[in-house]
C-alpha cells in the first residue's frame, strides 16, 4: 500500500525566512512524487514534480529514497507563498492515480 504523510498541518514563517514542508511516503517500489499547491480561492494546481528536477517559484524538492522523503524547500519565503501545499505520490508506471497527503497550510507573515 502507498501512503503519503505530511506531519505539519500548519506552518507559519516570517517573510524572508526559509521554509521547509515535510513529506514522507511509504511505497515499496520507485515512486513518482509531486507537490501541489492551492492558493486562496484558487484551484489545486501542480507546483513541481521530482522527475523534472526543477525549481518553481523558488521552491525545490529532493527525493531521498533512503529516508523516503520529498521535502519542499524555499530559502526566502514571500507573502504570496501563503497557501495549502499537498504532497502526492504515484506508485506505478501503469497506475495514473495519485495519493495525496493531508496538506500543510503555510502562512508567511510580513
Amino acid at each position: 500500500a502507498q501512503r503519503v504523510t505530511q506531519p505539519e498541518k500548519l506552518l507559519s514563517v516570517f517573510k524572508g525566512a526559509p521554509v521547509e514542508l515535510k513529506c514522507n511516503y511509504s511505497y515499496s517500489g520507485s515512486p513518482e512524487l509531486f507537490w501541489y499547491v492551492q492558493y486562496s480561492r484558487q484551484r489545486l494546481q501542480l507546483l513541481l514534480r521530482h522527475i523534472s528536477r526543477e525549481s518553481i517559484k523558488g521552491f525545490t524538492a529532493d527525493l531521498n529514497k533512503g529516508e523516503t522523503s520529498f521535502h519542499l524547500k524555499k530559502p526566502f519565503a514571500q507573502e504570496e507563498d501563503s497557501a495549502m501545499y499537498y504532497c502526492a505520490l504515484r506508485g506505478s508506471s501503469n497506475d495514473y492515480k495519485l495519493s495525496f497527503g493531508a496538506g500543510t497550510t503555510v502562512t508567511v507573515r510580513a
Partner: protein, 114 residues
C-alpha cells in the same frame, strides 16, 4: 478555452435527495478522477476513469456512482444524500499517454447535506 469545469460550485440539499455533480473538461484528456477533500484530511480518491465506458472505485469507499459515456463528461451521482456526504468534491483530469503528466483540477463542488 480548454479547461475543466465543475457545477454547481455550492450545493445545499436535504437528506434523501438524489444529486448529480457535474464535471466536464475540454482538454481531450482520457483520464478523469473524483477526489473528496475535507479540512485537515488527505484528498481521497473515490472514483476514476481511464476512458469512455471505463470506471473504477478509488481508495475511499463511497456510496456515489459515476459514468463516463463521453470523453469530456464525468458526472458523480448520489442516489440518496446523507449528512455524512457533506464535503468538498474535486474533479480532475490528465492526458492519456504521459506518465508524469499532472492532474488538472476543477474548482470543486462544496456539498452540504442537511
Amino acid at each position: 478555452e480548454a479547461d475543466i469545469y465543475q457545477t454547481p460550485r455550492y450545493l445545499v440539499i436535504g437528506t434523501g435527495k438524489k444529486i448529480t455533480l457535474e464535471c466536464s473538461q475540454t482538454m481531450g484528456h482520457d483520464k478523469m478522477y473524483w477526489y473528496q477533500q475535507d479540512p485537515g484530511m488527505e484528498l481521497h480518491l473515490i472514483h476514476y476513469s481511464y476512458g469512455v465506458n471505463s470506471t473504477e472505485k478509488g481508495d475511499l469507499s463511497s456510496e456515489s456512482t459515476v459514468s463516463r459515456i463521453r470523453t469530456e463528461h464525468f458526472p458523480l451521482t448520489l442516489e440518496s444524500a446523507r449528512p455524512s456526504h457533506t464535503s468538498q468534491y474535486l474533479c480532475a483530469s490528465s492526458p492519456g499517454q504521459l506518465i508524469y503528466s499532472p492532474l488538472h483540477f476543477g474548482n470543486g463542488t462544496r456539498l452540504t447535506v442537511t
